[in-house]
């Protein structure tokens, strides 16, 4: 799978974030997580941390997210980061994004790409297609953010968060006899 690396890392990050959650004192904050989430991601990837240290800001890639309400969120990531990494480490406020934490078990990190970027993305796996089938507001240029890794050529690209609208899947009945 093209993005096996980042997925593994995210799993590790999720695990360490969990450990952190349960060891933290409740008094540490009413809602723990934000800054520490990024810290957990970083802690889980010591090698990229050292790489990060030598990266200048020019090596970073800027991504603009058009949120559901039309707001533009701009964040930076480094080559190899997934778009889910970018959202998590920059604490971008996108409702419900990345529910399964990058393990290809949901479609909440669904993003819509510009044509010229979409065409150059790495090939899509069957497993990603399967989850995209369950995404809301699917388009011709839809992908899952957890599967897209940043490249220099993506600098300044704009991705759109689809609106949470009902589509054909609402009629899919998981539990009823067919």
């Amino acid at each position: 799978m093209a993005a096996a690396g980042p997925v593994q890392l995210l799993r590790a990050a999720a695990a360490s974030s969990r450990r952190w959650l349960f060891s933290a004192s409740p008094a540490a904050g009413t809602w723990p997580g934000c800054g520490s989430a990024a810290a957990a991601v970083r802690a889980a990837r010591p090698f990229s941390l050292s790489a990060r240290a030598v990266l200048s800001s020019e090596d970073k890639i800027t991504v603009h997210f058009i949120n559901r309400d039309g707001d533009k969120l701009t964040a930076k990531g480094k080559p190899g980061d997934s778009l889910l990494d970018v959202v998590v480490s920059n604490n971008l406020d996108i409702d419900g994004f990345g529910a399964c934490e990058g393990t290809l078990a949901c479609s909440t990190c669904h993003l819509i790409f510009e044509d010229h970027i979409f065409e150059k993305l790495d090939a899509i796996t069957d497993e990603e297609m399967d989850m995209l089938d369950l995404a809301y507001g699917l388009t011709e240029t839809s992908r899952l953010g957890c599967q897209i890794c940043l490249k220099k050529s993506m600098d300044n690209m704009t991705v759109r968060v689809p609106e949470a609208v009902a589509d054909v899947r609402q009629s899919v009945d998981m539990s009823k006899n067919s």
Partner: protein, 501 residues
């Protein structure tokens, strides 16, 4: 964003963004809106999360019948799908927020009435899901060897009420009635190599039973055809790729379907194409097949008429099916019996024809026909201040993202009603303070989120010894023992008196 972190800064910085009126409200009103959510499954937690995130002053209490939280994420999601359970990380952050409290071991409708909740809270959201299942309504349904999918899933997932299910797995053929994801989950659990299940949080008891299982063939039977299956492609692909088990699909069932789905929506098209490809694929492509004789298959256009008893009448030996033809097409196609019958031999029957919500309390309207609380965008019809989300709102279907969107929708209704003055927040409500004394007087011992964390730690520790993510505690009394005695008010007073000394 849902994954890890988020909460604090968006809670404080963007709390007024979606509904600007709140800023004014926050400055002028004294009472914090108190919201209560009934049920701690995904619907309950996603509703709470959205309200907390978009209203910086709201206090949300989540009530749960069981001591342990997370509903179907813990008791429904298959043990070999740990990725889906990652949503628990976010739910945990919500529960640990200073404006959210979890109260387990409280049964609404028994320990406390909905009317009492409405007295104590400005808004009450019912997210209690679907705790019952639809029944076949055919002779023999109650024979030994026949189980509901709900009970079977509850059994291997450690739901306390299903721990005595004791399914007889000494037969070679199991028949699952239904073509949904739950049916595929059960087929997969029955046929998975034991070494795969050992690494999951499946209960010790069910693992031991599966280790002795003689089941080597599973049929999934549906009344309608391949174009009406309700499972999703991820689960089908997983089943097709299951090590050591061979899919048996009859190519004749798929004749002409390639053309039929050419213009179908993408999910239906890809799902059907995967079935066709699997049906036409030459066998023996997977080397493991020669090693393991396990197999599974889909049978279509068969409607169960009777579960047939063994000669001594003690248990199930098969199911008599009426063959059907389809009238109409697509989702609305109806299965009409042709008059022909067929008997399928099997020793285990699992009926996976759907979950069903139950009415909670006479004070809450309920549509028995549709099995839901009648509502509009989550506002319960005719009862201001009462809301619903999740399966009890829209019926027992859909994947996690469906419930998430649906819960955000209900939360938005609550937020709008808070802003628009539909909910009167000028008088303060006591919230759990009022409930606590009621519960105490009725001898109910509520379980807090930190209590749950003790159970969680115990489960993880037990699992570690066995190389599993956790070993679920399946006994309610044992859960309560781990938490320890409830701190008594008198103890607290003593402690407070001692401190200055």
């Amino acid at each position: 964003m849902l994954g890890w972190g988020q909460p604090l800064s968006p809670l404080t910085s963007s709390l007024c963004l979606p509904l600007p009126g709140f800023r004014r409200w926050l400055c002028s009103a004294a009472a914090a809106p108190r919201v209560c959510v009934v049920g701690s499954g995904p619907a309950g937690f996603y509703t709470a999360q959205h309200i907390l995130k978009h209203h910086g002053g709201a206090q949300v209490d989540i009530y749960e019948k069981l001591p342990v939280p997370f509903g179907l994420v813990r008791f429904g999601v298959a043990p070999d799908h740990p990725e889906v359970k990652n949503v628990i990380n976010t739910f945990t952050q919500t529960a640990r927020s200073g404006r959210c409290a979890y109260h387990g071991n409280v049964t609404i409708g028994r320990d406390v009435t909905v009317a009492e909740l409405q007295q104590a809270y400005h808004a009450v959201v019912l997210s209690y899901g679907a705790e019952d299942n639809r029944v076949l309504g055919i002779p023999g349904e109650n024979l030994s060897g026949v189980h509901s999918a709900r009970a079977f899933v509850g059994w291997y997932n450690g739901l306390p009420e299903n721990q005595d299910l004791n399914p007889d797995l000494s037969c070679e053929t199991a028949l699952i009635l239904g073509h949904g994801n739950v049916a595929l989950d059960i087929a997969r659990i029955l046929l998975s190599p034991l070494q795969l299940l050992r690494k999951t949080d499946i209960t010790d008891g069910s693992l031991a039973a599966l280790a002795c299982s003689k089941v080597k063939r599973v049929w999934l039977v549906g009344r309608r055809g391949p174009l009406q299956v309700a499972f999703t492609i991820k689960e089908l692909r997983e089943m097709i790729n299951l090590p050591g088990a061979r899919p048996v699909l009859n190519p004749a069932d798929f004749t002409g379907l390639e053309d039929a789905v050419k213009d179908a929506p993408r999910p239906r098209k890809r799902l059907t194409e995967l079935m066709i490809k699997t049906a036409l694929e030459k066998p023996l492509e997977k080397p493991l097949e020669t090693v393991s004789p396990r197999e599974w298959g889909l049978k279509f256009q068969r409607s169960p008429q009777e579960v047939l008893p063994t000669a001594d009448g003690s248990r199930a030996r098969g199911v008599r099916m009426a063959l059907t033809r389809l009238e109409g097409s697509g989702d609305s196609a109806k299965a009409i019996p042709t008059g022909d019958m067929e008997e399928l031999e099997c020793g285990l029957v699992v009926s996976s024809i759907g979950y069903r919500s139950l009415p909670l309390d006479p004070a809450v309207p309920f549509d028995t026909q549709r099995g839901i609380i009648p509502n509009s965008s989550g506002r319960v019809e005719g009862v201001p201040g009462l809301y619903c989300s999740g399966w009890v709102k829209r019926g027992p279907t859909g994947v996690i993202i469906t419930t998430m969107n649906d819960s955000f929708d209900t939360a938005q209704s609550v937020l709008e009603d808070l802003q628009g003055g539909v909910l009167d927040v000028s008088t303060s409500r006591e919230g759990f303070g009022a409930m606590e004394s009621i519960l105490r007087s009725r001898g109910v011992r509520p379980v807090s989120f930190s209590d749950w964390e003790k159970i969680d730690a115990a489960e993880v520790a037990r699992g570690k010894a066995a190389g599993k993510p956790r070993e679920k505690i399946v006994d309610l009394q044992e859960m309560l023992r781990i938490i320890g005695p409830q701190p008594l008010l008198s103890d607290l007073c003593k402690w407070l008196l001692l401190v200055p000394l």
